[in-house]
């Protein structure tokens, strides 16, 4: 009976209501916070994007409408001779801040015996004398391809109007190579 009395005292009621109020208010605020997190995503303009270089025709380079994907369909590798596409495509920083970039292997399919290497070099400029900032090398030997893995991050500051970062492609097929093709997909990560 005493316990029953105590339970119905005003203080107990108030404390109970206060606790449930705190619980409901906190839970509601959490839900609202998650709403603000999930609803602030919007489509933005790409700041770092590709643009075609001087060798884009030779390499068969084409860009997606937003300049975020580049496809090169006319790259050739010659038997026992290295061939360099110095400036098929460039990366350009259109923002005001300095971004970082890296080359990352994604997938490879096709022939595994007729090539020697395919290299992707990120250059600090667009000429063949521009220093290499990062390189991702695919090497074909003994019936399989290996690569050097994801490169480390490199800075790409915005130093308009002249600086572009060319992605140079070097290829080589093995001596007396038969007709073959390989498709390589790499990602250019930006942060």
């Amino acid at each position: 009976m005493e316990i029953r009395k105590m339970l119905f005292r005003k203080e107990m009621k108030l404390v109970t209501l206060l606790l449930t109020s705190l619980l409901i208010a906190t839970a509601s605020a959490t839900v609202y916070y998650s709403l603000t997190v999930t609803s602030t995503i919007q489509v933005a303009q790409t700041v770092v994007k590709f643009e075609l270089g001087l060798d884009n025709v030779t390499a068969g380079a084409t860009l997606s409408p937003d300049n975020t994907v580049v496809t090169m369909t006319n790259l050739k590798a010659y038997p026992n001779a290295s061939y360099t596409y110095t400036d098929p495509v460039r990366v350009r920083n259109n923002g005001t801040a300095t971004y970082q970039m890296r080359l990352k292997p994604v997938s490879l399919s096709g022939n595994t015996t007729e090539f020697v290497y395919v290299r992707f070099l990120l250059r600090n400029g667009t000429s063949d004398t521009s220093p290499t900032l990062a390189s991702l090398n695919y090497t074909c030997s003994g019936g399989s391809w290996t690569n050097t893995g994801t490169t480390s991050w490199v800075d790409i500051p915005n130093t308009e109007p002249d600086t572009r970062y060319a992605i140079t492609v070097e290829t080589k097929a093995k001596d007396n190579a038969a007709s073959a093709s390989v498709t390589i997909e790499i990602a250019v990560d930006v942060q």
Partner: protein
């Protein structure tokens, strides 16, 4: 257009807090209200919480306009309850002093806060409220401030309110 600083669901959150406040206040003044009232307001707050949870799942389905109106309706219900309690104290219970205190310390501040957030939201959405509302809001704020200063300068006023 700039991203609004507050989402329409903010009004639901505000209403939940109003209901919780009402629950606690009616519990404190339990002699003057039916015993079930604090719990009814807790349930109303819980309904608001459920409404927020469900709303989160259908954000993409309902447009901004629809979301604003159902959240704003919920806020209106909460504010309506505050006014109803005010009227209940004044008309039904004839507790004039308490009704005045309630209107000064609960009804006006919460109404002004609600008007502020609604006008802020509308402004960010590009639909400004007429200047009249701002003026009314300022007058209400001035009244509340005047009452607060009076109580601050003469604490006996509070004792009189308590005795009533």
């Amino acid at each position: 257009m700039a991203e609004p600083a507050i989402l329409p669901e903010f009004f639901a959150l505000l209403s939940i807090d109003v209901f919780l406040l009402l629950s606690l206040l009616t519990c404190l003044l339990e002699d003057r209200f039916p015993k079930a009232v604090p719990y009814v307001y807790q349930i109303a707050a819980l309904i608001g919480f459920g409404h927020l949870l469900v709303s989160r799942e259908f954000l993409s389905l309902f447009g901004e306009y629809m979301r604003f109106w159902y959240n704003f309706s919920y806020l209106l219900i909460a504010l309506g309850n505050i006014v109803a309690i005010n009227l209940y104290l004044a008309v039904e219970k004839k507790l004039w002093s308490l009704a005045k205190a309630w209107s000064g310390m609960v009804t006006f501040p919460l109404t002004v806060i609600s008007v502020f957030f609604v006008s802020n939201y509308s402004y960010l959405q590009g639909a400004e409220f007429p200047t009249l509302i701002l003026q009314i809001g300022l007058v209400m704020s001035a009244i509340v401030m005047g009452v607060s200063i009076s109580i601050f300068l003469s604490p006996d006023l509070l004792n009189k309110l308590k005795r009533s």
